[in-house]
Structure formats: structure tokens, C-alpha cells
Amino acid sequence: MYHSDEIILAGFGGQGVLSMGQVLSYAAIIDNKETTWMPSYGPEMRGGTANCIVIVSDRRVSSPIITKFDSGIILNQPSMEKFEPAIKKNGFLFYEESTVVYPPTRDDITIIKIAAIHEAELMKKKQVANMIMLGAFLEVKPIVTMDSVLKALKKVLPERHHHLIPLNEQAILRGKELALQQLHLTI
């Protein structure tokens, strides 16, 4: 039997949801795994909701379009409403605390709440909230190695932003800490 992780990442356009997915996908190929990154595309990308499906697998991914997910990383309320029911039983749902007004209610999945935007503001760079979310996810679901994630950052970030890589790394590490605290609270 092969292993496959199916993840939905969703939020508003501009929150870095798509690039968060790309980092994950890129890290997967550096780890020699198979992957697909499928964005929702179209006019809704500006200001509206943006989401992407990332699949990381041991073997060639069949359908890049799926309706049920092992994990969700959710950064706004409309996406929460859309995707909370789409998480598989015993799956994981990560969400950003301040942008999701009505927290998820399911009790058959593990829910991890991260104050990513607040933490990013503490780091004086609001844009790294997505990396804090990614870090939280990776702490719970280490489907790719940290080493590969750092290499992936270099590939995904445009060269003019490469000076921000250490900050992004910090953000990921901070996300991991936050997830760990959350898990202790949950369990």
C-alpha cells in the first residue's frame, strides 16, 4: 500500500495560500516524492478566496482533483465553511485564529488553532503568517523534511525576496512551536 497526503489550503487572495502550497509541493519533489499543486484560478484570485489542493504521494498522483482531504489549512471564514465538512474522519484541520470568526465544531477530527497573524505581527512581518501556518502543519504532519522546506523556499520565493528566507524559516519554526503547545492543550 502506498502513502498519500491530500491537503486543502485556503484563504483570501494575498495571504500567501498558493505559495504556501508551492513550498510544500517543492519540498516534496526535493524529498523525491510525487506531488501535484492544483490552484483554484480565475478572477476570484484577487481579493476573493484562493485555494489550492496539494497532494504528496509515494507514487504518481492519479486525480489532482479531490473532494475529501486528510488535512486543511484554513485562513478565512468562507473557506472554513466550505472545507470543514470536506476533511476526512480522523483528519487534521489547522486554522488561523483571528480570521476565522466561527471556529470549527467537528469532533471526529483534530483541530489546531494558530494565532498566525498575531505572531507574524510580533515578528514585524505580517506576510509570514502563511509560513507560521505551514510550520504548524509540518509539526503535526511531517510529510516533508525541514531541510527540503528551506530549499523549497529558495525556489518559490522570487530572488528579490531571498533576503527574507531567514525570517520565513523563523516563522516556520515558530509555527511548529505553536502547534506543539496546541497539541498539548488538545490532548
Partner: protein, 359 residues
Amino acid sequence: MEREIRLMKGNEAMAEAAIRAGMKAYFGYPITPQSEVMEYLFEQMPKRNFKVLQAESEVAAINMIYGAAGSGARVMTSSSSPGMSLMQEGISYIAAAELPCLLANIVRGGPGLGTIQPSQGDYFQAVKGGGHGDYKLIVLAPNSVQEMADFVFDGFKLAEKFRGPAMILSDGALGQMMEKVALLPEGSLPHTVPAWAATGKPANRPPNVITSLYIEPEKMEMINHTLQAKYKQLQKEEVRYEDYQTEDADIVLTAFGLSSRICQKAVDLAREQGIKAGLLRPITLFPFPEKKIAEIAETAKVFLDVEMNAGQMVEDVRLAVNGKKPVYFKGRMGGIIPSPEEILHEIEQISEQVLSYQN
């Protein structure tokens, strides 16, 4: 050959592959969901050895392709459905004048202005000719980002071997999604300017003329015979398909492009339930794998064709099955992508109704 591994969007992978395949010029017009192709090429142009020009319309772009192909250059254009409709006149001329070139249609939902979401509604247009007169395109249908890149090489090779237009028939989802792609190195597909090209007449040869005009019907019929002979040869030599567990399958799905990925998952899900399902994916839509389908029709009990349209390839599947077995169809239209569960449901129903009845 050493391949470089990257994570790329289908459209970008196609553009990068075109550069590596030695494309000399690209002429295009922006249209969603494939504008990344030209954007990527413009970004790369100063660093590499090819040219891109943004035309005033798809009509102009395809005629620039005609001119550049007639000059013996390896050329390519890409568009999406409404734009590809505009190009049909020029494609007919290109086919008639026997000019090799590569076209890519990143299909979106139609008819009309339609939607920018993915569709397979242009199968007929691509496979049955599309413009006026008796001609065919060589049609390659990728189902992954890897194939979006690889089929650029295959497309150029076939177009040049058979002196005619080849098309990559893809869709918005494959164009926009990212996957791992292993890219062939630059210079791996050599090209020489063919002897028939209009590049300026040296004293020692008669003029080379690129034309599709033959007023005398006898000559025009001869040209048609030449074209038809090429299409026959293509049907004989260049058919490609992917066979996924059809050998012992009771129910065989047929699907191309993105649909085939979804069907593959549906087949896996069906097999988990003990339903013997399989998938035959035509890779070349023309030439169509009719022989292979006819062969499967001897062993399979029922076919289910799945497309993102109202049922286009299913006509070719039915011709190939030739009444031997029932052929069902499941389609979504207007930019909707069916889910694997939806297809599984269809398989289950057919399995229950048809297969249990037959047993």
C-alpha cells in the same frame, strides 16, 4: 539524457520545453487560462535563442506562424478555445500548405465566451479538422505537467516528420496546476531548415512557393491524396495510448487528458470494492487507438467513456467498439471537473445494472 527536475505549472513547463526543443519563434495573443505561456517566453527571450511576438489577434498570430513555418523555422503558438476558433482558417491553410508547426489549445468551457474553467469541449474541433476542407491535426492529449513538456518535443517531431500541424490538446486545469517535471536539455532536438522552405531563391534551384491554392481540381485532388496518405500512415505508425488494468477488466473506462487522471483514481476506488475496472487512455486523439479499443471490446463487458463535455470522444469509442459491447457516457460540462467519487458512483451503477444482469 540528463533531465532537470523542477516544480512547474503545466503552461510554464510547456513554454520551457518549447525553448529546450529549439523553438525559434512563438506568435500568440493573450487569453485565459494560458497567458502564462507567452508571459514565460517573453521573460526568457533576452536570455535565450528564440523570438516571441504578441500579435494583434489570434487571426494574425496563426498567419505569422504560417509565414515563419514557411520560412523553415520551428514555430509554435498556443491559445484557449475562443482564440483557437479564430485560428481555424489559418490552420486549414497550414495543413494544406503542409507546414509543420505546434499548436496548443488550453481548453476552457464553452460554447461562446464561456468560462475560463477547464473543459474538453474542443475535442471535435481538434480531432475532426476544425477548419474547412479535409485535413487532420496530429493531436496529443497530455494528462500531466510532465507530458505538457514532453509532448512539445513529440509534437515538433511528428509535425516535422509528417509536414503538418500538431496540436497539444490540454485544458485550463493541466495548464494551471503544478507538478514535478523532468525537463530534457536544450539542444536535444536538432533542427535543420528543410529544402522546401521559402528562404530566398539561390540561382541553382527553382523558386520555393508556399501555397494552398490549386485551381485545377485534378491538382487539388492530388494534394488531398497526399494529405490522406499521411493520415493513413499516422494511423498505422503513431498511435499512442495508456492501458491501465484493462486486461481482466469487466468495465473499461475511456478518457483522455485530465479526465483520465480522475478516472484512474475512480478505477482504483472501484478495484478496492472488488469491481474489475480498467482504463484505456488515448494519448494520440488523432490517430485514435481504435484497434486497441476494438481488441478490448472482445474481453470487456461494458465501456464507460468519461469526458468534460457533452460526449465527443465517445463517438469514436463507439465506432471502435462497433456495437460489440454497450458504451456508456458520463460527462460534465461548462468548466465542471467531475470528482473521482462521481465516476465511482457511475461505475457502481453500471456494475450493478449491467454486469450483474450479464452474469
